[in-house]
Symmetry: C2
Subunit: 408 residues, 2 copies
């Protein structure tokens, strides 16, 4: 069988990491392509590949990914077998549609969002992606949803706990701590628009078999995690809470995001003033402006943070459950280093943790291990091959269990 | 001699107060007119006059006050003898030009600003207004600069101390405390654009016979003032520091503005993110936006605060000096009440304190007492007639001196 051509869609910080990882693992694939609305951004990524000594040819393309006809046409033209969608969260459905029509495997790293809506009500995946399950199966393609780090690797961590530790799962607490420092007065680690949108709506968690609603920053808890130490994280809404709640309906599923007081203060000021709104306001001069778009424009480009970023991230799942009626708990986690990420691929750690996993997923599709010919979330797939491959690719998994803290 | 017709230019919160006061003191004047870029705003003020039972006719006019030809033409058409400029700080020079050409007296309440520049270097009045001194004198008109509360009444307070207490003045500390509460999460008391522009640049004060530069919120001091009690105020740049420094070059002249921690926090976040910039930024969608204009658009309209505003303001001058070699100090001040202002003229206290004094100045011009046929700042005019008239008009002056706390 011929090796599959791969098309990356997107040219931001995460796309840069995915491109570097695809280049490193090029032997698994056929031709490599990258498409972006602004082709210069894709070319800049190709330049960064050359700087790291990759001679193999990534080809760049201009693409309006909101146009499914254009997506389909590009996939057909390139004979792409796998599409890695690491563009904005607004393009998922049009890119998926293009893959369905052109018969390419689809991988993304975040849930679809409608630009006009903030924080839709659960079940989130069922609002858009899962409606296309039948079409994906009919088309005979593989579509892996949410294959970044969180969602993505943390879903596999839950599945890993299920596969190797428990026959009943009582709770899954996903904790995401960035203990790094970028040295700026304020910056978001990824697209400010997406970052803030995550936290401006209601916080949904799955507890006691039902959706529970809280306000952002309402529920904080101090965690004591490997390497990063004691950190406060806040109950937050996040993609994987929904899909994990569907697989583990009897378990409590919560997502905890670490925030410093400074972030919370800036966020609170912007939100309370109405500057995080996605609804246009009109200035005295008659100009229509979406406040969130302006806030994005004044904040540092997340990609620009990479050279100065120092410190570690720790992201993991605390899973409680029982085996043969005997209760236990396990913490499955990864620690990543911002500087190491920059040295390797020219990106900061947040982009690194998000950009490597979809390439691992692409490799597993290429190898046939994950080429399941249907739409799945990561927890529906065998976890160990994914986690072991991620270990080889720079995102090793460790476990704290009854025997101590050790690699998987 | 025929009574002078008066033309108000501007239709914001301060203009509303000035219109009500002119209506109350209509016997001093001929016809009353109000002009605004948006004539509906002028009409709304006329409606509010009718609601308070004023039957006399204020006539509204549409005017682009940045166009000195249009200003001149309107003054001529209305045969206006006095122009009360309470519009934006950007229109001073064009309105003054119109007055010079048409031969009308000119009164404003704040220094001229170029929309493209924030916090110009001193001497501020000499940047624009004072360059027109000769032209004003040649035209034989009276031009009274900065005749609001601060600048304005506080300049008269300094002159009052000079006239009635000291033969040498060592220091003038102007303190402006708003101890009122508007009940909103955040709002500015007057045009957010002007409000923030005051505090985004270097803080200039006159100390030791020279301009001293500080950063905003760098120098704070706790004051213990009548009625409002202990409050922290910060060394700030302000119009009157310059003109007072010119009259009292041997005295230290400082301006202190009271700020709560909440205001400082919001201001600091907006400033550090670049959201108070008057320089346009371009969004990812290619839209050019001046951040400060958007911030203004999302904040509450200062006029909308009036109905809920409660509490008092205290603004005064602590003047230290000596008489016949004997040192002393005097605090000259006014306390105003937000609710009383709203009940009387439908505006909050900040607008009230700014909007009454230019009408007092207009009355003194009409009466001839202040019709000096040249350009002056308030401290160059006799203070007692102004302060006594302000007492009759709702802004009584009190003094704390060696004999205690008493009315002037």
């Amino acid at each position: 069988m011929a090796k599959k051509n791969v098309l990356i869609i997107g040219a931001g910080g995460v796309a840069q990491v995915s491109a570097h990882k695809l280049a490193q693992w090029a032997a698994e694939f056929g031709d490599l392509h990258i498409a972006s609305r602004t082709v210069a951004k894709a070319d800049a990524i190709i330049d960064s590949l050359r700087e790291k000594g990759h001679q193999m040819p990534f080809t760049s393309h201009a693409l309006d990914a909101m146009d499914s006809d254009a997506v389909e046409a590009l996939i057909r033209k390139l004979e792409a077998g796998i599409v890695v969608n690491v563009g904005s969260a607004f393009i998922n459905m049009t890119v998926l549609e293009g893959c369905i029509r052109a018969g390419a495997a689809y991988i993304d790293t975040a849930i679809h969002e409608d630009p006009a809506k903030i924080c839709e009500t659960p079940p989130w995946y069922a609002n858009y992606e899962w409606k296309r399950r039948e079409d994906v199966e009919k088309a005979g393609i593989t579509a892996i949803l949410g294959a970044g780090f969180d969602p993505g690797v943390v879903n596999a961590y839950a599945r890993f706990a299920e596969d190797e530790y428990f026959d009943r799962i009582d709770s899954i607490d996903i904790v995401d701590i960035n203990a790094g420092s970028h040295g700026r007065w304020f910056a978001t680690n990824f697209d400010p628009e997406i970052n803030f949108r995550e936290f401006t709506g209601t916080v949904y968690s799955w507890q006691g078999g039902a959706w529970k609603e809280n306000a952002m920053f309402e529920i904080g808890r101090e965690w004591d995690l490997p390497v990063v130490g004691k950190r406060t994280a806040y109950l937050s809404g996040h993609d994987e809470v929904h899909s994990l709640a569907a697989r583990y309906p009897d378990a409590d599923v919560r997502f905890w995001m670490g925030f410093g007081d400074h972030y919370i203060n800036v966020f609170t000021v912007l939100k309370n003033l109405g500057l995080l709104s996605e609804q246009p306001v009109t200035t005295a001069e008659g100009l229509e402006v979406v406040p969130l778009k302006l806030v994005k424009a004044v904040l540092p480009d997340p990609a620009s943070l990479a050279p100065d970023y120092e410190g570690k991230t720790c992201i993991g799942d605390l899973v409680k459950g029982s085996l043969d009626g005997k209760p236990g708990e396990v913490f499955v986690y990864n620690v990543a280093d911002h500087k190491e990420a920059f040295t390797e691929v020219g990106s900061q750690g947040i982009s690194y943790t998000a950009g490597v996993p979809p390439v691992a997923a692409a490799i597993l599709i290429a190898r046939g291990v994950w080429d399941v010919k249907k739409m799945v979330n990561v927890e529906e797939l065998p976890a160990r091959p994914f986690l072991e491959l991620l270990g080889e690719m720079g995102l090793p998994t460790r476990v704290i269990d009854a025997t101590g803290d050790h690699p998987i």
